[in-house]
């Protein structure tokens, strides 16, 4: 079987959808965070696939940057989650609705 651009994109879309689903339905902040990473990597996959099939390195460069920024973002995000947990003794989103009022 010849693997083409479409296959990569379908995988990427499935990954993105799984990530979005995770963000929407899971209750634990850590899991939501992991789902977010999944969505980022789905985007990375699509970019790399486009780069490979269009003979253009721009996409690859882009992905490098995303990985770097994502690493920084994870550091900040995890720190926030830890701080939240220390304050409220919970990491469940349905308990964290202080912004309502």
């Amino acid at each position: 079987m010849n693997v083409g651009l479409e296959h990569y994109l379908v995988v990427s879309a499935v990954l993105f959808a799984l990530g979005l689903l995770g963000v929407l339905v899971r209750r634990n902040l850590l899991v939501i965070y992991m789902s977010l990473e999944l969505m980022l990597n789905a985007a990375n996959l699509a970019l790399v696939a486009f780069s490979r099939f269009n003979n253009n390195l721009d996409g690859q460069v882009f992905v490098f940057f995303i990985i770097t920024v994502a690493a920084a973002e994870v550091a900040v995000g995890l720190a926030l989650i830890v701080a939240l947990y220390r304050k409220h003794q919970t990491a469940h989103v349905e308990d964290l609705t202080l912004m309502k009022d």
Binding site: L24, T97, K100
Partner: protein, 620 residues
């Protein structure tokens, strides 16, 4: 030098603002500001007149206030003999009355408010006098109405005073509505509202006016009808006596009510146009007002109301003078009237204070010995008002009567009758109040008022006596006819009425003498009014002011109430739609609030949904 009139105009306003903002708790400072402003204005006016003289040269000093298309509103001062003399009279009489108020109002809690309003009034009145165009005149016209309202309602905790203020304001508004329409017609036809421009129009220009001349002239007269309380809008003036007596003297006798007459003289050239019948109507309305109110005054028992009806009657004279084509005579009578009517009101105020605010003349009596200064000044005012030679009232009243004798004999006879009635009710007042025995406990213990109230009386009495022979009339004559002769000798002026129109002068004196004789026969020894028995039902009609208030209540006010209730009903029905709008908004708001639950995942879901919708929208 041209800055002086501006300073004179704005000094009282500055005093009013200063009192309202800074010196309200401090009685002395408030009074000092107010009196200082008006006295300073008077002195500056004297200086300016000394510099400018009485030449009928028109000086104008104005700036453009706003400009819309070809419609330009100026704010300016018109300085000619007419306005300069009025400037002196207004500031002079107002000074006397301000000083008098120091005594009259000394126990009043609203002291600072009173002086602030008095200053505001002086400012507005000066604005009317100096205005050089209709718009400015109208603005100050309304300001005068407002300050009059404030001052009539000074003792607003008394319902009668509050109602009287409202009545005066609303009645004036009726007249002002016509006045505004008249101004609009003038602008429509001539394209300018500046008095100088309007006056300079050639006869060919005023031909454009003729089709509307009568209507336009009468609409402008409507303003004067309200402000000068002419029949049928005269009902507010007697009620305005609810205000403090200095206010009655300043506003409702000497200055504000004269503004209508002044305005008519100012725009006389718009009324005096061939083909216009406005002047005839004006003359008759003046005559009717004069006669009607003189008759009513005969049977009033409140000292201030008698003077109020007397004021109405004299205003009727002035309006009649304008209508008969003699604006200088009308202005002359306005001037002398300002002196002696202010004097009479202040004298009445002195009596009222001495009797602890008793105003019924049948509870006074015997005050001649107890209050000599008040009595003698009051007597001078009475003689002047009745038109006894050589006091001021004689000359001015005779001018109007002589004019009537030349042009309109029925009005001349009416005027004579009014002169007789005037002498009658004034002597009745003097005899009942000052002669005989004290008719009540308080009258027996009356004492003379303090000097601060007596000096204004003395000053005004001097002017009431000599006002007719110091050449005031010549100044007005030259305003309207620059070619008229000037500088008659003192002696010539004294006998001028007899040499010019002997019949009118002698008949006028005779009428006054008849009135005096009648009053003396009836009231010299009376302790009770003998007239009601002699006149029967007529006296009751006179005492009840011919039921004008009741007639208006039954017709106009009833009709207006009906209109108002229809409007109220429409409001309630129309409000249904408004309630619908309000309900929809509230329900939508409640529904939308459900979405904001604070859960991040809901937001993320809606956000995702939004992206999907957008993508679907753009890629479809």
């Amino acid at each position: 030098m041209y800055a002086l009139p501006w300073i004179i105009l704005f000094l009282p306003l500055a005093a009013a603002v200063g009192i309202a903002l800074f010196t309200r708790p401090n009685r002395n400072a408030s009074a000092a500001l107010s009196i200082g402003a008006v006295l300073g204005g008077f002195l500056l006016a004297v200086i300016f007149v000394g510099w400018a003289g009485w030449d009928p040269v028109v000086r104008e000093s104005s700036t453009t206030w706003l400009e819309v298309g070809d419609f330009k509103v100026e704010f300016g001062l018109r300085l000619d003999p007419l306005s300069l003399l009025m400037l002196l009279i207004v500031t002079g009489v107002a000074s006397a009355i301000h000083v008098y108020s120091l005594g009259y109002m000394r126990e009043d809690r609203g002291w600072s408010r009173f002086f602030a309003c008095l200053s505001l009034f002086t400012f507005s009145m000066l604005g009317i006098v100096l205005a050089n165009n209709f718009i400015q005149l109208f603005i100050f016209w309304e300001l005068v109405g407002v300050s009059s309202y404030l001052l009539i309602g000074h003792w607003f905790e008394r319902p009668a005073a509050a109602d009287a203020g409202k009545k005066a304001f609303i009645t004036n508004r009726l007249g002002d509505f016509g006045f505004l329409l008249g101004i609009l017609i003038v602008w429509q036809i001539f394209g300018s509202l500046n008095f100088g421009v309007l006056r300079g129009l050639s006869p060919a220009d005023s031909a454009r006016w003729t089709s509307l001349a009568t209507v336009g002239g009468l609409l402008i007269f409507c303003g004067a009808m309200g402000k000068s309380a002419q029949f049928p809008l005269h009902v507010w003036l007697p009620d305005a006596m609810e205000g403090p007596t200095p206010v009655s003297a300043l506003i409702h006798a000497a200055t504000m009510v004269a503004a209508g007459v002044y305005m008519l003289c100012r725009v006389y050239f718009l009324l005096n146009i061939p083909g216009s019948h406005a002047l005839t109507v004006i003359a008759w309305i003046g005559g009717i007002t004069a006669a009607l109110s003189a008759v009513i005054a005969v049977q009033q028992n409140d000292i201030k109301r008698i003077l109020a009806y007397s004021t109405l009657s004299q205003l009727g004279y002035m309006v009649m003078g304008v209508g008969l084509g003699g604006p200088p005579k009308a202005m002359f009578h306005l001037t002398t009237h300002a002196f002696f009517k202010a004097l009479l009101f202040l004298g009445a105020g002195s009596v009222i204070v001495a009797l602890h605010h008793e105003q019924d003349i049948w509870k006074m009596g015997g005050l001649r010995k107890k209050m000599p200064v008040t009595f003698w000044t009051f007597a001078a005012g009475t003689l002047a008002l009745a038109g006894i030679w050589p006091l001021s009232g004689f000359f001015s009243k005779d001018g109007i009567l002589a004019r009537a004798a030349e042009t309109n004999v029925p009005l001349f006879l009416l005027g004579l009758a009014v002169a007789a009635l005037t002498a009658f009710y004034m002597l009745r007042l003097v005899l009942v109040v000052f002669q005989g025995d004290a008719k009540s406990e308080t009258a027996g213990h009356a004492v003379e008022s303090p000097p601060v109230m007596l000096w204004p009386l003395r000053v005004l009495a001097c002017f009431s006596v000599i006002g007719g022979m110091i050449g005031l009339e010549a100044i007005y004559e030259r305003q309207f006819d620059p070619a008229s002769e000037y500088g008659l000798s003192f002696g010539d002026q004294l006998i001028l009425p007899f040499s010019q129109a002997p019949i009118a002068a002698l008949l006028g004196l005779l009428a006054a003498a008849v009135g005096f004789a009648g009053a003396f026969l009836l009231y010299a020894k009376a302790s009770r009014d003998p007239l009601p028995e002699k006149l029967g039902p007529l006296a009751r009609w006179m005492r009840n002011r011919f039921y004008f208030d009741e007639i208006y209540q039954a017709t106009f006010i009833r009709f207006h109430d009906a209109l108002a209730s229809i409007a109220a009903w429409l409001d309630r029905v129309g409000a249904l739609g408004i309630r619908g709008i309000h309900g929809t908004t509230e329900i939508t708001g409640r529904a939308l609030r459900l979405l904001q639950n604070g859960n991040v995942q809901t937001y993320a879901f809606l956000f995702g949904l939004g992206v999907v919708v957008l993508l679907w929208w753009t890629l479809r």
